[in-house]
């Protein structure tokens, strides 16, 4: 079904990501977690390596390597530093959204800057205080004027909000009920009326900033509209479908890192002696579950790469990968006991970092809704 043979483009991108992970991300990960902040230098290195637009067409500055290469790269990077990787994931998602829905001018102006780091990173401004899993509760509004649009409202939990150079923003442009009447806008980070809140203090991913973004009479031109008026929900859902492959891959990287750390601990602790089944079986479960999740993720990425529908497959991948990665980190901590809890150790950080993969870009509950709706359709068709 899919081929990741040595020498393939996907394998090449995976190897490139592994090198950057080892050389740049991994040595900085613990310190980044301790002091918090934004990984500006690491993201610049990722831009220089071409990893900020992995599935973006070459003519727009990307690698044009497809979703499978993207998934493999994200897994390698998250294995080293999940916090830096989430900024990369969102940037790739924003760049792909623009490459897909943007006008030729929007594409040529913004996408290369997202890939080469000129925009620093892109941000995805969908969630609001009252609209997390349910975008229909959105209150941010965009009003059409003679000169374009004026946006008012506030967004919450915006990854990289502190430093992003470009925001993709969703706002209501009509009073149509539900998700109708939502439109999408491109808002440069220096637009007057856009202000950034203080980064949230979080359980994990402390090297990734998460901010509220306020729009107060924020005026943008007519060229800021992405896709058609009232089609924003479709844009968001398509972006999130792809984004879920990224988060599944991120979770896989974190889960594998925890399992590898637990395996190394097991070697150190037991040496040549027999490893108790309580330990060896736990490692076996983690390895098996993460491999199964990796295959689901690879399937979704391969479907996307080959232009086939992949929405519920991406939800399955994210659901499985995030929950099994959390279980793997939890097992590693339980297995390693006091040594796992040590804040200087990597597993304690991985446990904190992985938890959010069950929440952002659609909670596990939202993924179950997506998957269950598809199952209902499939069984209906089969009757």
């Amino acid at each position: 079904m899919f081929d990741i043979e040595p020498g393939s483009p996907e394998h090449g991108v995976q190897q490139l990501a592994a090198h950057v992970a080892d050389d740049v991300l991994r040595p900085r990960a613990a310190e980044l977690d301790r002091r918090g902040g934004f990984p500006t230098d690491s993201l610049a290195a990722l831009s220089a390596a071409g990893l900020m637009g992995i599935a973006v067409p070459r003519e727009l500055g990307g690698l044009q390597a497809g979703a499978l290469a993207y998934s493999l790269a994200v897994t390698e990077l998250a294995h080293a530093c999940a916090a830096t990787t989430v900024a990369l994931c969102v940037n790739n998602m924003v760049a792909e959204v623009l490459a897909h829905f943007g006008t030729p001018e929007q594409r040529s102006v913004h996408v290369p800057k997202l890939c080469n780091g000129e925009h620093v990173v892109g941000a995805f401004a969908l969630s609001e205080a009252g609209a997390g899993s349910d975008p229909a509760g959105m209150r941010t509004r965009a009003r059409r004027t003679d000169r374009g649009w004026v946006i008012d409202g506030s967004k919450l939990w915006i990854t990289s909000g502190s430093d992003a150079g470009l925001f993709v923003v969703w706002a209501k442009t009509s009073d149509d009920p539900g998700t109708r009447g939502i439109s999408t806008f491109l808002v440069p980070g220096d637009t007057p009326g856009l202000s950034r809140g203080k980064p949230e203090h979080k359980l994990g991913l402390r090297g990734s900033t998460t901010c509220a973004i306020e729009f107060a009479s924020c005026e943008v031109g007519p060229d800021a509209l992405l896709d058609e008026v009232g089609r924003g929900f479709r844009v968001a859902m398509m972006a999130l479908d792809g984004g879920r492959i990224g988060i599944a891959s991120q979770a896989l990287g974190i889960g594998r890192a925890a399992t590898m750390a637990a395996a190394a601990w097991t070697r150190d602790r037991y040496g040549e002696r027999d490893v108790p089944q309580g330990v060896s079986f736990a490692l076996a479960d983690s390895a098996m579950e993460l491999d199964a999740a990796a295959l689901l993720t690879t399937r979704a990425a391969w479907l996307k790469t080959t232009g086939q529908p992949f929405s519920h497959q991406a939800s399955m991948a994210k659901l499985m990968a995030s929950e099994r990665a959390f279980a793997a980190c939890n097992r590693a901590l339980a297995m390693m006991g006091p040594e796992g809890q040590d804040c200087d150790g990597v597993v304690e950080r991985l446990f904190r970092d992985v938890r959010v993969t069950m929440i952002y870009e659609g909670t596990s509950e939202v993924q179950r809704v997506v998957v269950s709706r598809d199952i209902a359709r499939r069984f209906e068709d089969a009757r």
Partner: protein, 364 residues
């Protein structure tokens, strides 16, 4: 959360008083303690509040509530601050239990802070300084003959005080109080837990020490019951937070509490937490009755409680969605504290291993 009408009234009254104290004096500082560590004078304040020696008979300076009362108090305290509760649990279970077991009244008086004026509590070596506990955990090995020199190997996670640590060797037959200033400590953020490590360090033991395996098992059971009680308190706090949040958080036009997926998370969490609490109550009762076999019951209770707590706290965080991942709500701290409970004294694996022999005997 005691059992009105079933438990002695004085325990209900004690827990009620602790709940009032917790809401007024402890909960407001819990987030700060999580970030910066417990206040230097908190041990003295705990002594003044009567939180040392809950399990100790009244005629020996305690509250006379036994292990049942101590478990109920730790469970309640944990709903206000897991960091403080786990410290008190280890102090009460390990150090106070050691003094009770040895019949060492001067040591007991010192551990309860009895007769010490508040102003003398200040300073790292004050009489009310914390005394922690090192169980027979993984990586911990203490060897040496009673009265001689103890050699410690390995490293452990526990809550050390400024004064001393109770050490139980891996074989379960060495119990002693060791001066903590001889240990290499690394501070850590969160949970009030600290790492204590040593590698083949020789320590001169000049405090009471015994090779009594029975006492070691008893102390271990006390610690299990009280750490398990802390876990149950964390689970209760998380479920309480989640219930409140689910009632007010609206998505898709209604409170998320209306969704079955949310209801089942809460139902599972409450059931698992209550089942663990019943195991702990049973174990505490057996300890109070002097049952030599209580250590198995205590291990079962701790194992169930920590698992229930991690699960309940994780699901509570999930119910909070993105808010739960931020420090704006306490559920992320509750999850960290619950997970850390498995690294205090015996972890899940060690508890299961400890239970194996008893199960084989029961079901043979």
């Amino acid at each position: 959360m005691t059992l009105p009408g079933i438990w002695p009234e004085h325990i209900d009254a004690l827990v009620g008083a602790v709940a009032t104290l917790g809401a007024r004096e402890i909960a407001p500082s819990a987030a700060r303690w999580d970030e910066d560590g417990l206040d230097a004078d908190l041990a003295a304040r705990c002594a003044d509040w009567g939180l040392f020696g809950v399990s100790v008979p009244e005629d020996r300076g305690g509250a006379g509530a036994g292990m049942l009362g101590a478990a109920a108090v730790m469970e309640e305290l944990a709903t206000h601050s897991g960091s403080l509760a786990v410290r008190l649990a280890l102090h009460e279970g390990g150090a106070v239990g050691l003094a009770l077991g040895l019949g060492d009244e001067p040591l007991l008086a010192r551990l309860l802070g009895a007769g010490v004026q508040p102003e003398s509590h200040s300073g790292a070596t004050g009489q009310s300084s914390w005394v922690g506990w090192v169980g027979a955990g993984r990586g911990v090995c203490a060897t040496g003959a009673p009265g001689g020199t103890t050699r410690l190997h390995g490293a452990a996670r526990m809550v050390p005080g400024d004064g001393a640590l109770v050490v139980v060797g891996r074989e379960g037959d060495v119990v002693g109080l060791v001066a903590a200033d001889r240990l290499d400590r690394r501070s850590r953020r969160g949970s009030g837990l600290r790492s204590v490590g040593w590698t083949d360090v020789a320590l001169d033991v000049d405090l009471p020490r015994t090779g009594d395996a029975g006492l070691a098992a008893q102390l271990s059971a006390r610690v299990s019951v009280l750490v398990g009680a802390v876990a149950c308190g964390l689970a209760r706090a998380a479920i309480t937070q989640a219930v409140h949040y689910a009632r007010v958080r609206e998505q898709f036009g209604q409170p998320i509490a209306n969704f079955q997926a949310i209801q089942w998370k809460l139902a599972n969490g409450a059931t698992e937490r209550d089942a663990a609490w019943m195991l702990l109550v049973h174990a505490a009762g057996r300890l109070d009755a002097g049952d030599a076999g209580a250590h198995d019951a205590a291990a079962r209770g701790q194992l169930a409680a920590v698992r229930a707590a991690v699960s309940a706290c994780s699901e509570a965080l999930q119910i909070h969605g993105g808010y739960g991942y931020t420090t704006e709500f306490p559920v992320e701290r509750l999850l960290r504290d619950a997970r850390a409970c498995s690294a205090v004294d015996r972890g899940d694996d060690a508890l299961r291993t400890a239970l194996t022999a008893g199960i084989a005997a029961r079901f043979a």
